[in-house]
Amino acid sequence: MTLHRPESLEDALALSGGGAALLAGGTDLYPGLRDGAPPPELIDLTRIASMKGITRSDSGWRIGGATTWTAIVKADLPPMFDGLKAAAREVGSVQIQNAGTLAGNLCNASPAADGVPALLALDASVELASAGGTRVLPLEGFILGPRRTALEPGEILSAIHIPDAPGQGAFLKLGARKYLVISIAMVAATVTTRAGRIETARIAVGACSPVARRLSALETQLVGATQDEVFARTGAYAFDELSPIDDVRASAGYRLDAVTALVARTVANAMETL
């Protein structure tokens, strides 16, 4: 049994690709073992300084992949990030927020990952480092399906990039209890307004399709809407992007029904705060 604890991304990349599993917060890896033995070789990414924390770049923001949800909650960030912060507060529990990381949430690729809609609504892209170099993919192109991503063997999701933009973020999660709950559905939005009407809206929905989805058509339709009109236009929207399933948490029909209300409320909440 080996646990590598590299202190630089280069060292981590040199170790990866040989079958060792990547470990950050452990909040998905260990539960996934279902009481079984841990993998024989793990690479702990939590000591790599460049993978932690939030920095401002020329074009926007860089969040190290191993940044925890708690670090997001505590960071001083503009209103655009309020949706991501709200999502961070709703991830599991304080214990999970203290350990769990953004990169882990994305790489685990659960359809119900709380971080994904908020990052989609921020137009996030992911930085994938490998020994051969670094590539950047839009988040929408990174998560391919349930538990499936574009991460190649030997690659590490080293950072998340978020372009600078004006706007107010918001996030709502629907679950059957207050804490420690897997989402039935969740919605994130980033909105700008002019004179009380929507100028731009970026909206994403999670847990209602194999991968969280942006609602591009609705985003267009909402341009120019007042808060009241948001409810009317959302109510008339068909949500063709979504393909929810029945599971132990809720029926597909309920998810679609609830999403209508959740989307309108999330957008309205963002407008309210502006």
């Binding site: 049994m1 080996t2 646990l3 590598h4 604890r5 590299p6 202190e7 470990l23 917060g25 452990g26 909040t27 890896l29 260990y30 539960p31 073992l33 279902r34 009481d35 033995a37 841990p38 993998p39 024989p40 070789e41 793990l42 702990d44 939590t46 708690t70 507060r89 599991g92 529990s93 304080v94 214990q95 999970i96 203290n98 350990a99 629907l174 059957a176 209890r177 207050k178 804490y179 420690l180 709950v181 897997i182 039935i184 132990v248 948490r249 809720a250 029926s251 029909g253 309920y254 029904d257 609830a258 209508t260 209300a261 959740l262």
Partner: protein, 899 residues
């Protein structure tokens, strides 16, 4: 840097001490802290971050140690409950506050709760209920209903002293300090050093045939100690809890009847077990049934039970058919509930040691003597060859009455002669432990124009699972209780327990009565609405009063106090109705409603003997020992029984040293179930205290009013006279052993008779808020009025009520075990700290004719009215009535849309 085993010695600071452990760096930190560093105050409840019991501070931040690789703690500072309470002033004060508020019941979640709370207190953030809930939201508790935990954290800097006194005083738990300081020892905490591990092999299908490969070759190749199968069982391979219904094999033979049933048990060193590849067994899935529908035509689970009917229950009085046919008003409906998991945070655990021709078993149990006899039967031993030593119990609620983990370690230790331990995983616990019976109820109720109940008919089908367990108790108890605590002159109730290929349904707080109350109390609301009568007034009009017969014809001359409970709710009811009306006038998307429901429950076994015995002795040194065998599973019997005994003896509780349940030295106080300990064991304790007092007073030749003191040996003060009682000899110089068995009578073919000597009653009120578009329910408050006869300890009464209410909320809103689908605590949801609203407990003391100092039992009563009160509040808020529980957002939204 890499940490490689076996060179990987991991060093960290644990509670101020530098610790180095030789362990795998990828092992879960929780396991390493417990097994290598001795931190048994770190509890393991789920291994998945779902329960928070293993919360520790890692460099100051609360994390679940079950999801941290041990190597990630290299160089870190780790703090656990034990170290915090010893060294951190916040934690030391918090521990006192936990005691003051009874924030720990069973104590299994307490480490996680306190560690999380210390992080909040250290942060200096302003304290509010919301801040506490956010900080503690990652720790599940199944006993307390969370409110007293919130109170304790908010009051962490308080300095109020603990209460003192005897019967009637809200004293802190006598067994509380170990729980709040981290030294309590639960089932898996006492496993002998170096013990072998037992791991059952369980069926992956609801029903299956199976064939083993070459077990001897597998054992030898893998260095295992032994592989147990049914052929190894020296006694009879069946156990159970009801005479005549012992039908469950320890290890299945030929065919398994439910998913999770054990067919073999592998025993070996922890290393050999961890390295074990797939066990050599071939499964053949067979057709199965998981609900009673069609069970009459399905393959029989037990050859002697036709149509898969385990048993039926029946109570009839008057002529229900005629009353329903001729009544001016009838309401009827179908209602159903699903499997409910007990969800204690401590999974089943046991260890066993063979001592000569005896077995000593340490385990978390609610029924040590029943366990002893059950093990003796499996092992082919005499009962006195088996010793059960109960540990602290991390929640029970009925499921730790049955044998679970004990048989595996008993058989393994017997055969190998070596110590053996086992702790179920959460998944095993969910798969294999008993559940609350799913119910399908049809009920009709008839009333006259004035709102008087004329009659009721009840037909309940209960899924009792693959084995009987406590199913017969449910079948018998439900028809007696399905009327609710109301005057019902014409009544007919039938019940049936049906076998299916699911985990055995057994005992769970209420034995079927919570399910029948869901139907009956909702129908009461429907009738009141139909008649245009205030729902509380309608219940009061029909409340069963002293001198009136129950549906079994039993008449109580005192102690039937449902009218007092309902009256006590009136002020809150009127306020809540007005508040809701005002709120609803202002809001369109969310609506509030008020619900009320009653419940009753007969304390003790139904119409059969169930005695308790309590023993006490005084040594020559003047030490007073109470052998208190009524197992405390968190409800508080260690404290309550001692208060009663001390009162009867006429001494302070501080004079009494407790000796707990141990089948060798403490007599049988019966099982901790059926709300019987305060009433039955309490009476035995009262008799024991009185008998010992009489002996002492006789020895001192003093009057009945003499005061006993242990300040200086055994001293008696009688008026102006002081008498020193001479004590000499070995062991107990003075000793008393007394028993109590409730006076009941058998029921006739129509269920008529006196099944219980004592009924407790309760009425609860709920204010709920429903988001109409989402179907989500938020509870605003609960008010619970409970007749406990006499509150031996009001603080513990409140704890029972709040914990029961929380379980009732779970039943109403979120809980449903789906066999094979919800085998973890993130798919099977129980309420978190954010789901239980403030609860006001109104204690009614009617003074029971039989109970000690007038006290009744309380445990089951607390959750019986809760679910229907919540559902009635939802219906009042929305107009939508939920017939099939739980009222999840999806179901409630569908019901609202269907209006």
């Amino acid at each position: 840097m890499s940490l490689d085993a076996p060179h990987g010695h991991i060093g960290f600071t644990l509670n101020g001490d530098s610790v180095t452990v030789a362990t795998s760096p990828t092992a879960r930190l929780s396991e390493v802290l417990r097994e290598s560093a001795g931190a048994k105050d770190v509890k393991i409840g789920c291994n998945a971050g779902d329960c928070g019991a293993c919360t520790v501070l890692l460099d100051g931040a609360p994390v679940c140690a079950c999801m941290i690789a041990a190597g990630q703690a290299q160089g870190a500072v780790i703090e656990t409950q034990v170290g915090l309470v010893a060294d951190d002033p916040h934690a030391a004060r918090l521990a006192q506050s936990f005691q003051r508020h009874q924030a720990a019941q069973c104590g299994i979640c307490t480490p996680g709760m306190m560690v999380s709370a210390v992080a909040l207190l250290r942060s200096g953030a302003p304290l509010s209920s919301e801040a506490v809930e956010d900080a503690l939201g990652g720790v599940l508790c199944r006993c307390t209903g969370y409110r007293k935990i919130i109170d304790a954290v908010l009051d962490a800097s308080g300095t109020a002293p603990l209460s003192t006194g005897g019967v009637g005083a809200p004293i802190a738990r006598l067994d509380g300090w170990p729980k709040v300081s981290g030294t309590e020892r639960f089932g898996d905490d006492v496993a002998p050093e170096g013990a072998l591990l037992a791991r059952p092999i369980r069926a992956p299908y609801h029903r299956a045939a199976f064939r083993f490969g070459d077990l001897d070759a597998f054992r030898d190749a893998r260095g295992l100690e032994v592989i147990l199968t049914a052929a190894d069982i020296p006694g009879e391979n069946r156990f159970g809890v009801i005479p005549g219904f012992e039908d469950q094999p320890m290890l299945a033979e030929g065919e398994t009847r439910f998913k999770g049933e054990a067919v073999a048990c592998v025993v070996g060193t922890p290393e050999a077990i961890a390295a074990m590849p797939a066990f050599p067994v071939t499964w053949e899935e067979l057709p199965s049934i998981t609900t009673p529908k069609g069970a009459d035509k399905a393959a029989l689970l037990h050859a002697d039970r036709a149509e898969n009917v385990m048993c039926r229950g029946y109570v009839a009085r008057g002529d229900a058919g005629a009353a329903l046919a001729s009544a001016p008003h009838v309401v009827s409906g179908d209602f159903s509930t699903g499997f409910i998991e007990h969800g204690y945070i401590e999974p089943e655990a046991a260890s066993a040691v063979r001592v000569g021709d005896r077995l000593e078993i340490r385990c978390c149990t609610q029924a040590p003597f029943m366990n002893r006899d059950g093990i003796a039967g499996l092992m082919g031993l005499a009962p006195d060859q088996v010793r059960i030593l109960p540990t602290a119990v991390g929640g029970g609620f009925g499921s730790k009455l049955d044998l679970t983990a004990q048989p595996f370690v008993a058989l393994a230790a017997w055969i190998t002669g070596k110590p053996v331990r086992i702790a179920f995983t959460r998944t095993e616990s969910l798969m294999a432990s008993t559940k609350r019976h799913p119910s399908e109820v049809h009920m009709e109720i008839a009333a006259d124009d004035d709102g008087h109940i004329l009659g009721a008919r009840f037909d309940g089908v209960f899924n009792t699972g693959a084995y009987a367990s406590w199913g017969p108790t449910v079948a018998n108890r439900v028809p007696i209780h399905a009327s609710g605590p109301y005057r019902t002159p014409n009544y007919e109730a039938r019940s049936a327990g049906i076998h299916t290929n699911t985990a055995p349904a057994g005992a769970f707080r209420g034995f079927g009565v919570p399910q029948s109350a869901v139907a009956q109390e909702q129908l009461y609301d429907m009738m009141a609405e139909k008649l245009g009568i205030d729902r509380l007034e309608f219940r009061l009009r029909n409340a069963l009063r002293n001198g009136e017969p129950t549906v079994t014809g039993q008449v109580f001359e005192r102690g039937m106090a449902i009218d007092a409970c309902l009256e006590a709710l009136k002020p809150a009811w009127e306020t809540a109705l007005a508040d809701c009306a005002a709120f609803n006038a202002e809001h369109s998307g969310v609506k509030r409603g008020v619900g009320v429901a009653s419940g009753w429950y007969g304390c003790g076994n139904t119409s059969i003997s169930n005695p308790s015995t309590i023993r006490a002795g005084i040594t020559a040194a003047g030490e007073l020992f109470l052998h208190q065998g009524a197992v405390d599973i968190g409800q508080g019997s260690n404290t309550v029984i001692t208060q009663i005994f001390a009162q009867a003896l006429g001494v302070s509780v501080a004079d009494v040293s407790l000796i707990g349940a141990d089948t060798d030295i403490t007599p049988d106080a019966g099982k901790t179930s059926a709300s019987r300990q305060t009433y039955i064991s309490g009476n035995a304790a009262r008799l024991c205290g009185e008998a010992l007092r009489a002996q002492i007073l006789r020895l001192g030749n003093v009057s009945d009013t003499a005061v006993i003191s242990f300040d200086n040996g055994l001293t008696l003060s009688d008026g102006d006279a002081t008498v020193q009682v001479p004590l000499s000899g070995d062991g107990y110089v003075l000793e008393a052993v007394e028993s109590y068995d409730p006076p009941t009578t058998p029921l006739d073919e129509n269920g008529q008779g006196d099944p219980y000597a004592v009924f407790g009653t309760a009425a609860q009120l709920c204010v709920a808020e429903v988001d109409l578009a989402l179907g989500t329910t938020r509870l605003i408050r609960m008010v619970a009025a409970h007749d406990v006869g006499k509150a031996i300890n009001p603080l513990l009464v409140e704890g029972q009520v709040e914990g029961g209410v929380a379980q009732g909320i779970g039943l109403a809103l979120m809980e449903e075990f789906l066999p094979g689908r919800t085998e973890n605590l993130h798919d099977y949801l129980i309420p978190t700290i954010g789901d239980v609203p403030p609860i006001d407990t109104l204690i009614i003391e009617s003074g029971d004719a039989h109970g000690p100092y007038g006290a009744k039992g309380l445990g089951e009563h607390c959750l019986i009215p809760t679910a229907p009160a919540v559902l009635n509040a939802i219906a009042h808020a929305t107009g939508a009535r939920i017939h099939h529980l739980p009222a999840t957002p999806a179901r409630l939204r569908a019901a609202i849309k269907a209006l």
